[in-house]
Each structure stands twice: as structure tokens, then as C-alpha cells.
Symmetry: D2
Subunit: 132 residues, 4 copies
Amino acid sequence: MKSAEARIRVRYAETDQMGVVYYANYLIWMEIGRVELCRACGFNYRDMEREDGIFLAVAESSCRYRSPAKYDDEVVIRTWIEDASKRMITFHYEMRIEGGAVVATGSTRHVFLNRELQITRLPEKYFPMFGI
Amino acid sequence: MKSAEARIRVRYAETDQMGVVYYANYLIWMEIGRVELCRACGFNYRDMEREDGIFLAVAESSCRYRSPAKYDDEVVIRTWIEDASKRMITFHYEMRIEGGAVVATGSTRHVFLNRELQITRLPEKYFPMFGI
Amino acid sequence: MKSAEARIRVRYAETDQMGVVYYANYLIWMEIGRVELCRACGFNYRDMEREDGIFLAVAESSCRYRSPAKYDDEVVIRTWIEDASKRMITFHYEMRIEGGAVVATGSTRHVFLNRELQITRLPEKYFPMFGI
Amino acid sequence: MKSAEARIRVRYAETDQMGVVYYANYLIWMEIGRVELCRACGFNYRDMEREDGIFLAVAESSCRYRSPAKYDDEVVIRTWIEDASKRMITFHYEMRIEGGAVVATGSTRHVFLNRELQITRLPEKYFPMFGI
């Protein structure tokens, strides 16, 4: 099973007055993780949008917050595909402080949209990349 | 069961290049919804933090994206408490376009933290407000 | 000279670990202010984009931060046009706590873009709305 | 004169429906740039906050948007100090696509705050680091 790691450093903008990362930002990090996984699978998500007009629309997200990430922490986002078909794909994520605790885990389920933002099938050329 | 409605108008900043609201922003809207619910329950969340040193930390979030919200849409966020105890509280959310489609539904589960960000119990004065 | 007022309530997501609003968010509030000014000028900015394919691209922004806005503050954004031509428009902003201190002042200068994101002239129908 | 370079990759969350980076995000990138410059000057901004209780509060920001940054672009943020005293510091920024066009230039002026968020002087130990 393919997986990929992306690294980010927590931005000041991502903290809130509780002194920790605001909870919606973990979903932004998941996006960074899955784009990195696309690269590991052999393609650039940007090109999939631009050249093939295929968009990965989020149908569901879930996140468990385990330990707060803080400003300037280096966070490693590990992403893997749990389930993929020509109609749907599910990514899983584990985010942990470099050399430290897991801060969050989660998943997102996606459908494929065309340029008119209608549900479509994944083009065949991407099947091997997603392990379908 | 108490519920509350908050209204927001979709900001340009909340859209992405797909032309719809970026998926992490729905979690920000959920926060607006639960703060409004606190007001409907008879207290100001800001004061709970300031005066009682009680913080609502998110332990879990989930969201189902049903239909995309778009720039300048007026979105109604309805929030209600499904489950509350002295240790934990779960909020549910339904977000819909004013007079139109449901754009997303979701839930967040929270624990209570003290000023040192350690898990604590909800003070008794809040029991009736949360229906405990 | 036309001016308009918009009101927002500070979101938890907009605060940072300093306990005040993060400085980039004031630019998001400026956007809310100028969209409200468009409404006061007799048109909807969304429709200007959709129907006429005219986009207000920011060429310059500046902001002076005078007093910090805090979580749950109600902020009034007053916006007015200082200078407008068929090629350029400058908005000014004053943001203050409802019934309280000015938190920030600023301005943005914009050019008009067409759907190909090339610089264009403002269509004549908008001249009277912008006071040109 | 000290300068530093930081690199970021444009996130999907940072784009808007115009298909380019939303203008407030450049201020977030400036923050990343100045934190990197602090590192190049021999200290960690996080520690300055935590250990010395000194906060860099933004008093003014300005940005000129020259050419739009787009999703997945790699952006190099070059930051330098133009002016520093025990009461105030001004950072300048140039942001460009790796190997390509300048996307934005700007500056921020800061004052120093203590833990009570009152204006204070920069402690002497930081004078040489900021070239004062």
C-alpha cells in the first residue's frame, strides 16, 4: 500500500487564543498530505485538474484530535489510500510531531468531479496510480 | 432539546479555485454555530473561558459535504446538543443555504480543559445550561 | 461620497496565540467591507463577476493596526471609495469595535480584470455606481 | 544586512475562486519569512515569546501584488530588516516563484510587547541579533 510523508511547520496564523493549533487547520494539512501522496503515486494533482479536468471533491471528513500541535512544531503528515474505486477514494492520515506524539488522525472520502462539477468516473490512466 | 441558528455570508476568502467553499471552512462555521448555541443556553462562551477558565477542546470532528456552498451564499447553521455530561459534550450541525439546500452536516465532540489545558470536569453551574 | 457599514463578530479561528486577532484577517474584513459598499452602490459584486466577467484584483493593500480586536468582539467595518476611474479604484476602511475603539484603518487599490485575468476597463454601466 | 529565504508551496486552501492566491495569504507568508529571518539572526521567535515574554506586534503592513501566485507554485520569501531600534523594527519582503516572477513585495512595521501586551523595549541581548 502506497503511503507518503509531507512535512509542515506550524504557522503563527494557525494557532488560536488557546495557544494551540485551531482544529480546522488539520484538514488543510490533510490536503497537503494527499497532494504529496498523489506525487508518490506518480502524478501531480494540479495537472489532473488542469489537463484532465478531474477534481477530487471531499464528500466526508473526520478527524480525531489526540494531542495539541503548537506554534513552530514540525509536523509529519503520513497519508495512505485505504480504498479506491473508479467512483470514490478514501485517504487516511496520521499527523505527528517530528520525533514526538501523534497529534491527530483522520480520513477523507472523495468523489471525482468534471469541470462542470458533476460526479464522474476516474479516467483509466489513473487506475494503476491509485492501485485500482 | 435546545438548538440555535446562526447566519453567515460566504466570504471570498472561503472559496477555492474549484469555485466553491474550501472544506475546512465548514468547521469554522460549526464553531460559530456552537457559540450561538451557548448564547441560547444562557451563557457567553467567551466568559466561560475568561471567568471560569473552562475551554471546550475539540476531541473529534466529522463532516459530510452534501452540496457545495458558494461565494455570497447566506448559510444558516443550526446547532444542537446530542449528548452532554460533566466530562464531554457532543454538538450536531446542519448547514443549509437560506431557503435552499443542505450544504453540510456534521458533529464535534469536546472535552473540558482548565487554564493549564488539562482535562477537567464541567463546573456544576453549567449543568442546567447544557441540560445535564 | 458613498460609504457603507458591515458588521462581523470575531471568530475563534481568527485569533492567534497572542490572544488577539491575527493581522492577516483584517484584510479579509476589508473584503467584506467593500462587497457591502458595492451593495450600497447598487450592485452585487458576485453578479459583476458572474454576469459581466469583471474581477476586482487587488494591486496594493495597506493596514495600520491601532488597537487589537479580540474574540467575540463585534466589529463595524466602514468602507468608502476615495478614488475611482475606469482603470482603477481605491477603497478606504475603518474598523472599530461596536461602541468602542478603532482597531484598524487601511486601504486597497484595485485594477479590473476580465475572465482571462487580463487588465481591462470598467464597463460604462458601473461608472455612475462608482461615482466616475 | 542580514536576509533570509523561506520556501513554501501554495496550498489549495490559499486559492480563491479567481483561481489565484487570495490576497490576505501573502501576509501569512510574510510571517513565515520573518520567523526564518529570526532564525538567521541567531534566535528562535518562539523562544523569544516563551522565555523572554517579548512579542512582535504588527503596527503596519503593506503589500504590492505584482503577479498572481497559483496553486502548487513554489514561492521563495526573501526577508530583510530595513530599520531596527529598541522600540521598533521594519521587515521587508520579496516573494517570487522559484525560478520565476516576483509575485509580491511588502513590508511590516512592528513594536515590542510584553506578556501584558503593553509596549516595551527590546531586551539588550537581542540588539546584536537585529543589528542595533
